[in-house]
Symmetry: C2
């Protein structure tokens, strides 16, 4: 249990994807250090779900870091989140729900935290298939970031190298949901909706539409009742 290579840091938002990542790490036998961010997101209810998931999957620790400079995004400010009626209509450009440099900041925190606790393995639930077009969710960004931290940290240079794992990168939402279901994820305690303050989901933001289609294709019932 003190095997260093057995430690994993998981970036846990409390959304569906990162909860499935957590379940994967648990089943692979990692000692899990989860971290979340309170960045002024309007859908801050996800942090409640993050706490639940971290406890459910028996993480060694779960830290929530507060970051207070974000503005200019529909996920933090009072800009309307676009509604769509059809998942096929989600545009290809970077949407207004993009949060400036979010995964760069989150992964930098992850690297710093992992270096402090000598954790080699960093897990993040980015996905290139059913996603909203954010540039910091692409595999090429993750690979560049991994290279960067291995060249610019004491751990990367003198110790064990960091490895950033993206187990969902090539999965469809359907496949992610089926995997989570198999792994025992309680989907009623995962948040996906970009709109704030709702008990369930709005059903019309990009994230809700992707989730809805995923459950339909997986032939499963979404307990959030989309």
């Amino acid at each position: 249990m003190t095997d260093k290579s057995n430690k994993a840091l998981v970036l846990l938002s409390g959304g569906l994807d990162s909860s499935v990542v957590l379940s994967i790490c648990k089943l692979e036998g990692y000692q899990i250090y989860a971290i979340s961010f309170d960045y002024g997101q309007r859908h801050a209810v996800e942090l409640k779900f993050a706490k639940f998931q971290a406890s459910f999957f028996k993480c060694i620790s779960h830290e929530i870091f507060k970051i207070d400079f974000y503005g200019g995004s529909a996920l933090t400010d009072n800009i309307d989140v676009p509604s769509n009626t059809n998942v096929e209509l989600i545009p290809n450009n970077i949407p207004v729900t993009y949060v400036p440099s979010r995964n760069i900041v989150f992964l930098s925190f992850a690297a710093g935290y992992a270096e402090c606790f000598d954790i080699d393995n960093i897990f993040i639930g980015v996905n290139s298939i059913d996603y909203s077009g954010y540039p910091d969710c692409r595999k090429t960004f993750i690979d560049d970031f991994e290279n960067l931290i291995n060249k610019a940290t004491k751990k990367g240079i003198e110790g064990n190298k960091f490895k950033i794992f993206t187990p969902l990168i090539n999965l469809s939402k359907k496949e992610i949901i089926k995997l989570g279901n198999k792994n025992g994820v309680d989907f009623s305690m995962t948040s996906s909706c970009y709109n704030p303050g709702l008990k369930k989901s709005c059903g019309f933001c990009d994230s809700c539409l992707l989730r809805k289609r995923g459950f339909e294709e997986a032939k499963l019932i979404d307990p959030l009742g989309n």
Copy 2:
């Protein structure tokens, strides 16, 4: 005064180097947004100096971000800071004063903040000549980071590209001090010492030794009295 290209974000520690960077930006006519970090550094007195310098050089704003996960470094924990008697004896390996992933986290915050406020220009006072051997102070790291944020942010892809400036990168401490002196930097309000709680400097840590030699070579008196 609303020219976007005229805005600069400066990473301001309150140390000698970043204060000189601030003076350079001021003389070049930038509207300056300064950011500092409270990361549990034992030499937290530098934040007091950062506030002074930000005010002195009339920054548009000065934000201090709190980061609370750092441990495992002589700059944050109760590990002895090494004493040297001769600046030539500073070892080449990464020292115990290295703070895990510090500039990666700081520059990520800078990128996020700059993207929120649409600031193209980021200034950081890293230096490859008279420095303590930290891997995240090298020009190659800065270049890699600039490429990364330009590929992984909405601003970098769709807007004006980020430019990270390192005006001190190839200067000796002597040259940095002479430049700061010419630019009107009040060196009595800059901190360099890695040891905490001292009114002046310990005179024996790497940083004090580099500063001392710099002032001697510049033929100037250090108001901190080294």
